[in-house]
């Protein structure tokens, strides 16, 4: 059990790391938002999942699972709303020819 938990935790940490690097290095708003969304969904999601597994069956673990579901719903919605708002504002996506 704990092997799975550790693996999931490491996976989450990796996605957080990758997302943060992407946030700093990617060229425009849309790609940065894309990277940040990974931190939320996959990163936080798998870390919470790891914690739920580590805690074992019980109320606390169930609450954590609920949180995972909430994050899986809320994270992508927020990214979608952000990207849509940026598009409405007329922010152009980056393309190689311009840069």
């Amino acid at each position: 059990m704990s092997v799975v938990a550790v693996a999931l935790g490491l996976l989450g940490a990796f996605f957080f790391m990758a997302g943060t690097v992407g946030l700093l290095r990617l060229p425009d708003f849309y790609s940065r938002a894309h990277a940040a969304a990974k931190c939320d969904t996959v990163g936080a999601g798998s870390i919470l999942l790891a914690l739920a597994i580590a805690l074992g069956p019980g109320l606390a673990g169930l609450k954590l699972l609920g949180l995972v579901i909430l994050i899986l719903i809320a994270g992508p919605t927020a990214s979608h709303a952000l990207a849509r708002a940026a598009d409405r504002r007329g922010i152009e996506p980056w393309t190689r020819e311009e840069g």
């Binding site: 909430l70 719903i73 809320a74 919605t77 979608h80 709303a81 849509r84």
Partner: protein, 224 residues
């Protein structure tokens, strides 16, 4: 210049503050007055299952909590009285279908959670004000996504002047009831456990619903 002045002022104020904090008894050492005087009494007297914080807030220091609820109410009337009239309302936003669907999906769960926080406040962390903020946030979220009209639909227009005062009014009712049963205003009758429980829940519900209405009206006062 102005920024420098502000920075100098902030430094001048914070240095004695930090020095005084350093001179305070070390945090957590058990023989300090903060742990040996009234706080110890509260801990020793508390029943097993209770959330100590809510016990102190509603019982020993109920008067303060009443005052805080009135503060929030005062903030609402102060805003209502100064709101500009006859301004054109903002155009209703056209929500993305995805965001709209998700907001509609989570709204009932949100509300359920808010009432959970309100009703379990006297046994677990939580309580009226926290629940009120969650409920109010729910109304605000709907208003921001679907426009103020949708937020207004959550509030019963007729009962609004009564509901916005639900917090203070619940406290007043509990105060009078306590006065009759224990002989002291805002006392909680320990010898009548059912009534005691009902009073606690009633006050928490009053704070929760009244607070949620207040948060929503603060938002609506600005939007329309």
């Amino acid at each position: 210049m102005k920024g420098r002045l502000a920075a100098a002022f902030a430094t001048g104020v914070s240095i004695p503050m930090i020095a005084a904090m350093a001179a305070l008894p070390r945090h957590g050492s058990p023989d300090q007055p903060i742990h040996t005087h009234v706080a110890r009494h509260y801990i020793e007297q508390a029943p097993e299952s209770a959330n100590l914080v809510t016990q102190v807030l509603l019982d020993y220091r109920g008067m303060d909590t009443f005052g805080e609820v009135v503060v929030i109410f005062a903030a609402l009337v102060a805003v209502l009285v100064l709101r500009a009239r006859g301004e054109r309302p903002l155009p209703a936003p056209s929500p993305s279908p995805i965001v709209g669907f998700i907001v509609r999906l989570v709204t009932p769960f949100f509300a359920l959670f808010a009432f959970h926080v309100i009703l379990t406040g006297h046994e677990a962390p939580g309580g009226g004000l926290q629940g009120a903020a969650i409920l109010g946030g729910l109304v605000l979220m709907n208003g921001i996504v679907f426009g103020p009209e949708r937020a207004r639909a959550f509030l019963p227009t007729r009962a609004l002047p009564w509901l916005q005062g639900a917090g203070p009014l619940a406290f007043l009712a509990a105060g009078i009831l306590g006065g009759i049963t224990t002989g002291f205003a805002l006392g909680y009758p320990a010898h009548l456990p059912v009534l005691h429980e009902a009073m606690l829940v009633g006050v928490e519900l009053g704070i929760g619903i009244g607070g949620a209405v207040i948060f929503s009206r603060l938002y609506l006062a600005m939007e329309a």
